[in-house]
Symmetry: C2
Subunit: 195 residues, 2 copies
DNA sequence: GATTGATTTGAACGCCCGTTCAGATAAAGC
DNA sequence: GCTTTATCTGAACGGGCGTTCAAATCAATC
């Protein structure tokens, strides 16, 4: 027995990424075996090595793709206008984008320590780049006198930590709608930066 | 060969917990073996089972002890006075207490999914209890008109996420002192809840 | 100094790990 | 329909896993 009916690279490749994302998010990178991933894909473990050189690359590619797509999506929806408006759009974008991909977000935050040094450096650079976009908005607001922030770098990290925290409790169909959540967080963010 | 010189329960027990805390924080529960922990303690793997029934209990005991001690420490320093003063004391306590035990905090946030269902429920209950203390301050502030918060439950989780985020970047001896950090975060928290 | 009990070793248990690869099979191209 | 190529299987590699336990050794007691 070998190649099975319907087997195809275009199918197995994405299925591998989906299975790895789902399993890594649920049980953690170290706790998930290539055999478990293969079972989820519906294939033997050896076949996975047609699509990834090793397990580490599987993790890194997921995280890299997530960060790349985050930056592309943000830059495509690049907030315009006064700093306060841009900040509101950032808050809305961040909450919404992250709530829509809880697995990728979870992995991006929890599995950093399982990256090799070089891979870690790349992901961290992308993260810094995202934080810099928020910090840019904050410094613009400070410059034009709308915001009162004594350390925009810390404020950016503090706000992102707060916003990303939504993912730990938000569930579709729960007590609050996505719009409710955005409004609640925007209220806190807005007040925290105004003079 | 068997029992070595200087071996003693009073020494090995704490050393086991210290080694497990350090290694779990650095590499993650799933990625650390009992043999690695034993090597750090300076003993063979089998000896660890005089001090813990199994690896899962080792993780749970660390997390349970951390949460218990957090609640005891907070209740001992129970904030007094007007809601705004109590909130300021909460912020100071939280940042300081968490910055002093980065390993235990890291484990408490990252290893929840490696707990068995029953153990997870216990830790989550303790966490809710801690969040409830902050929410109590917020509702008191809303009641007496000092605060303007439309959802105190969400606000409590948002603020805790923001404050705990300090641990991801704060390093002793860095650009900012502990006092600087407390002042920066208190400024943001204070403004975010005021009307 | 002999005895007792606490503590540790070292080997073993069955099982799972990431990865490789020859051989088998299905799909694609002619 | 035959050949080629992409894809997958199944077995194997060396190694590590959590846990158990008899035997050995140390510390404390008498």
């Amino acid at each position: 027995m070998a190649r099975t009916q319907g087997s195809h690279s275009d199918i197995t490749g994405p299925r591998l990424r989906d299975a790895a994302r789902s399993l890594f998010a649920r049980f953690g990178y170290a706790a998930v075996s290539m055999r478990q991933i293969a079972a989820e894909v519906g294939v033997q473990a050896g076949a996975l090595y047609n699509y990834t050189p090793d397990k580490q690359s599987l993790l890194f590619d997921l995280m890299k793709a997530h960060m790349d797509e985050l930056l592309i999506a943000y830059d495509a929806a690049m907030p315009q206008g006064a700093p306060l408006e841009r900040l509101e759009q950032f808050v809305s974008f961040h909450i919404r984008y992250h709530a829509e991909r809880p697995e990728a977000v979870f992995i991006a935050y929890m599995e950093l320590r399982n990256l090799t040094d070089g891979n870690f450096a790349q992901i961290e650079e992308l993260r810094r780049s995202y934080e810099a976009r928020l910090e840019g908005i904050l410094t613009a607001g400070v410059t034009d006198g709308a915001f009162e922030i004594s350390d925009t770098r810390i404020a950016a990290m503090a706000l992102i930590a707060m916003l990303t925290g939504v993912n730990t409790w938000f569930r579709e169909g729960g007590r609050l709608s996505m719009e409710d959540v955005e409004a609640l967080y925007w209220d806190m963010v807005r007040k925290s930066v105004l003079r």
